[in-house]
């Protein structure tokens, strides 16, 4: 059991369902779709802000609507507000969970480190034999490929409105047409370029 979970890569029929369940958990926790390129963008945008903002008395959307309804003399229930749960003593002291992009990204790194340590992976510059085979360019050349490719994934993901974690895992799960179009884009250029590179190298 230990061996098959921690020592080897998971087969697709384990990794896929695990990711699928993670999508659901993530949405339940944050009420947002999984997506790492926007998480990265938010992390960059907040770079200089304090990592842990001071807690302030939190007013949820529902509470704001409730206050508005009372002010205007409207029945809160007609606006879809559940007064009983909102005004319960436990609800008022509860701090809503804040999505914190920098902490999530730090976690992603740590999770991968844990997986690598348990698997006993060694450090290396290149991305493995398949990468070295496709780009037999030496360290400087490979660094150039990674910098240029990295730029394109950042630029392209924001232009497309998401990266594979956002469009394929998040967007397809809610059947977004935008995601299908973006994914067609990824594969159109990815397949063409890979086949071209393999033909050139061979």
């Amino acid at each position: 059991m230990w061996e098959s979970i921690f020592a080897h890569e998971w087969p697709w029929w384990v990794g896929g369902p695990a990711l699928g369940l993670f999508i659901v958990l993530y949405t339940w926790v944050y009420n947002r779709l999984v997506g790492m390129s926007s998480t990265m963008e938010n992390a960059l945008a907040e770079w200089k802000a304090p990592l842990l903002p001071k807690a302030e008395p939190a007013v949820s959307m529902d509470e704001a609507v409730l206050a508005f309804a009372r002010e205007q003399g409207i029945d809160p229930a007609s606006l879809g507000i559940d007064v009983a749960t909102l005004t319960a003593p436990s609800a008022t002291v509860k701090q809503p969970l804040e999505f914190n992009p920098r902490l999530v990204l730090a976690g992603v790194f740590l999770g991968a480190v844990v997986a690598a340590l348990l698997q006993g992976k060694a450090l290396s510059f290149g991305l493995g034999p398949a990468f070295d085979g496709l780009f037999p360019l030496g360290t400087a050349g490979q660094a150039g490929v990674l910098l240029g490719g990295g730029f394109l994934i950042g630029f392209g993901a924001r232009m497309a409105g998401g990266c594979p974690s956002g469009h394929a895992l998040g967007g397809l799960s809610v059947l977004s047409p935008a995601s299908l179009v973006a994914i067609l884009g990824y594969f159109a250029s990815g397949i063409s370029l890979t086949l071209l590179l393999r033909w050139v190298v061979a």
Binding site: W10, G20, V104, G107, A122, F125, G154, S173, P177
Partner: protein, 142 residues
Amino acid sequence: MKNVLINIGMGMLFGFIVAKAGVADFGHVSGMFALTDFHMYGVIGTAVPIGALGLILLRGKRGLNGRTLPPPKKASHPGNFPGGLLFGIGWALTGACPGTSIVQLGSGYWGAAITIVGAGLGILAYRRVHKKYFSWQLDSCG
């Protein structure tokens, strides 16, 4: 404190699963594009229906932060396809998307640090280009 633990914990779970599922592996990504390796198709092909089913079951329920689930669909805009094309080139070159580049680094491939720097530059560059030339509304999530 609970906030910090949940955020780091969710990140770690994602990083761990992505690493173990092999979707940050250059060989699998390249093989997916060369149509010689089924692994990535199997992972995405099982993750998406399970995720979709779960999100359907969550519909109308309250999430951890008390708001009703699930969030809105992603908005369509003219950048979806051209952005996807540019992204695909980068994905084929680095075997990574913004999330998996961090997983590659954590997995001990330290060249991925360069990919991450590149991705950061690309994200910042796009923000400038977008402000200057494009008018569509950017998605807040994804």
